[in-house]
């Protein structure tokens, strides 16, 4: 069945997300080299390349998750959007705002906050369209009369809490907050920690949605374990952020509570995905080969990140790891290894569902090549950051330059593996981009040509 015009808005979000990630990775590679050679690209210093990298990669996560929701609800759940026009406005405002943000970075106009380094005024359109998105989502789901499967709860909670925490991240505009340094830092990281929790809700909801669709039953979305994950995720979102601020002099019990809660969330997700993987038949694995591989990779990265998260959440270890590249390894491992792998699984699930086998093979050679390059280089990249972090954390001297020289070999590995990571990801993204384009073409009534590539599953 061909996608309809009103399904296309979700696909456009997905394609915009792909472009955003491709650009974000390019600037990540430039930033990696600027770590080694600070003079590299004088016209666009690190204080400009880093915000471009961060904003584009964060945008990818949001765009791909939002695109999935806008696509899955009308196309697969038969819940036509309450307002397709609101979704279109959302899309175009995102594009215009994104261009304005990039322009502000390139011309050196900053808001100077972590994650949101653009001028505060540019948050206004994001804020307003997020309201539009929320209204559209909840009004669309009013047509769904049965008890909600857990992914609807996760998406809804992600939408609500992003709105709240996004507002919270701008409390610094009020003098009461910014003029007490401890309050300023704690509230800033409370909002960012919870905001990350809110996008995890969107992404993990997508993971469970795709997993249950591929498995062909809703058990994983209505199980006690799934709701357990949801409530633990929500608890982490509310209290777990303080593991970022163990060393900031806030009330001690806030930090102890965060320590206790930080141990749980990833384990539960890993268990659900692991159970799901074991329940799949060979046919289902082959039928959704690309989507399955990316979800499997996410599963492996969940466990790798779980180990690191457990270590850095213990305050005694956090003394060494905090403020080092280990935190970057944790962030990269989570955003690329978990979130991006889940979202790529979602993209290729859409492709598999919408394009027949003679147009695109289940186990595409190019996608699998990109998959392996991405995951192997990510493992090296991750390890290099962990080693650099230990080098920085264990350094006992007083010279920053001396410490930087000591960890330089690890940063060289980090920069080189970053190039391989970008190239592997570009290969995957290019295939996803053009295949989604084929779905859009077919919805517009154009004839779609095949890849000429045989499915490994069928050959």
């Amino acid at each position: 069945m061909m996608a309809r015009q009103n399904d296309l808005i979700g696909l456009n979000f997905l394609r915009l997300g792909i472009v955003s990630l491709a650009i974000g990775m390019f600037f990540g590679v430039i930033g990696g080299f600027q770590f080694l050679f600070p003079d590299f690209l004088q016209e666009l210093l690190f204080n400009r390349t880093r915000p471009i990298h961060v904003s584009m990669v964060v945008s990818w996560i949001f765009l791909a998750a939002i695109g999935g929701i806008y696509f899955y609800l009308p196309r697969q759940q038969k819940l036509s959007l309450w307002s397709p026009n609101a979704a279109k406005i959302h899309f175009w405002v995102f594009i215009v705002t994104g261009i304005a943000i990039l322009y502000s970075y390139v011309t050196g106009k900053f808001g100077g906050r972590e994650y949101f380094m653009f001028p505060a005024i540019l948050s206004l359109p994001i804020f307003l369209t997020w309201i539009l998105f929320g209204v559209n989502y909840f009004n669309t789901l009013r047509k769904y009369k049965e008890p909600w499967p857990v992914y609807y709860w996760m998406w809804g909670t992600g939408i609500v809490f992003f709105f709240i925490t996004f507002c919270e991240s701008y409390l610094w505009l009020i003098p009461y907050f910014r003029e007490s340094m401890v309050r300023e830092i704690i509230v800033q990281w409370k909002s960012y920690g919870a905001l990350t929790g809110s996008w995890n809700m969107l992404v993990y909801g997508t993971a469970i949605y795709v997993a249950t669709r591929i498995a062909g039953n809703q058990d994983a979305a209505k199980s006690k374990m799934a709701y357990g994950l949801f409530f633990l995720g929500l608890t982490n979102l509310i209290f777990g952020w303080a593991h970022h601020t163990y060393l900031v002099p806030s009330q001690t019990w806030i930090r102890v509570l965060a320590y206790a809660i930080s141990m749980t969330e990833l384990f539960i997700l890993g268990k659900i995905l692991w159970d799901w993987r074991a329940s799949l038949t060979t046919f289902q694995k082959n039928q959704h080969c690309n989507a399955y591989r990316f979800m499997f990779a996410a599963d492996i990265w969940v466990f790798i990140n779980l180990v690191l998260a457990l270590i850095i959440s213990v305050p005694a270890f956090n003394l060494i790891t905090h403020g080092t590249h280990i935190t970057v390894a944790h962030a990269m491992g989570s955003t690329i290894g978990i979130n991006t792998m889940i979202l790529l699984s979602s993209l290729f699930y859409v492709v598999r569902e919408e394009l027949p086998e003679n147009v695109h093979a289940s186990c595409s050679k190019q996608v699998m090549t990109g998959f392996w390059i991405t995951n192997v280089s990510l493992a090296i990249f991750f390890l290099a950051l962990v080693m650099a972090g230990f080098g920085r954390g264990l350094y006992e001297g007083a010279s920053f330059q001396e410490m930087a020289l000591q960890i330089r070999p690890f940063l060289v590995v980090f920069a080189i593996s970053g190039i391989a990571l970008m190239l592997g990801m570009w290969l995957v993204l290019w295939n996803a981009f053009r295949l989604l384009g084929k779905i859009i073409s077919s919805a517009n009534g154009e004839k779609v040509r095949g890849d000429g590539e045989l499915s490994t599953a069928n050959s």
Binding site: F110, R178, V182, R183, V187, L319
Partner: protein, 132 residues
């Protein structure tokens, strides 16, 4: 029911964090000069490379206690002239002075990394140099 309880927890916990949870005794109130310095720090996106309390970018050093460790003159010279690894961002003398005042204000709020602390057997850390 569980969702409602958690949401209410979020509301009350946030209110606590905004008030008593972050009400710590520290030195003098922020001065006008430091307030302007905070603004300059953000306008030049210094956080892309530097941290306070280990939070921020990792290209440059943490600046929480740079004034007590290195002195205001040292910090001012770095900002004004740049180094081999830090670009001269072209701050005016007034802006430089404001940023140094801001760094001085941050310095009064605590110690990072902690110098005097106890680690318990279950892994928590009690910082004796916390201002509270």
């Amino acid at each position: 029911m569980i969702f409602g309880t958690l949401f209410l927890s979020f509301v009350f916990y946030s209110a606590y964090i905004y008030t008593a949870g972050t009400e710590v005794a520290h030195g003098p109130e922020i001065s006008d000069e430091a307030r302007r310095g905070q603004q300059v720090y953000q306008e030049y996106n210094c956080m892309a490379c530097h941290q306070f309390y280990g939070l921020g970018g990792y290209m440059g050093p943490d600046l929480t206690n740079v004034i007590s460790n290195r002195g205001a003159a040292y910090a001012g010279a770095f900002i004004a002239a740049g180094t081999a690894t830090m670009p001269n961002l072209g701050l005016s003398p007034e802006e430089t002075s404001d940023v140094v005042a801001f760094l001085g204000f941050v310095d009064t709020t605590g110690t990072y990394p902690p110098k005097n602390y106890d680690v318990t057997w279950y892994g928590t850390v009690r910082q004796e140099d916390d201002p509270q």
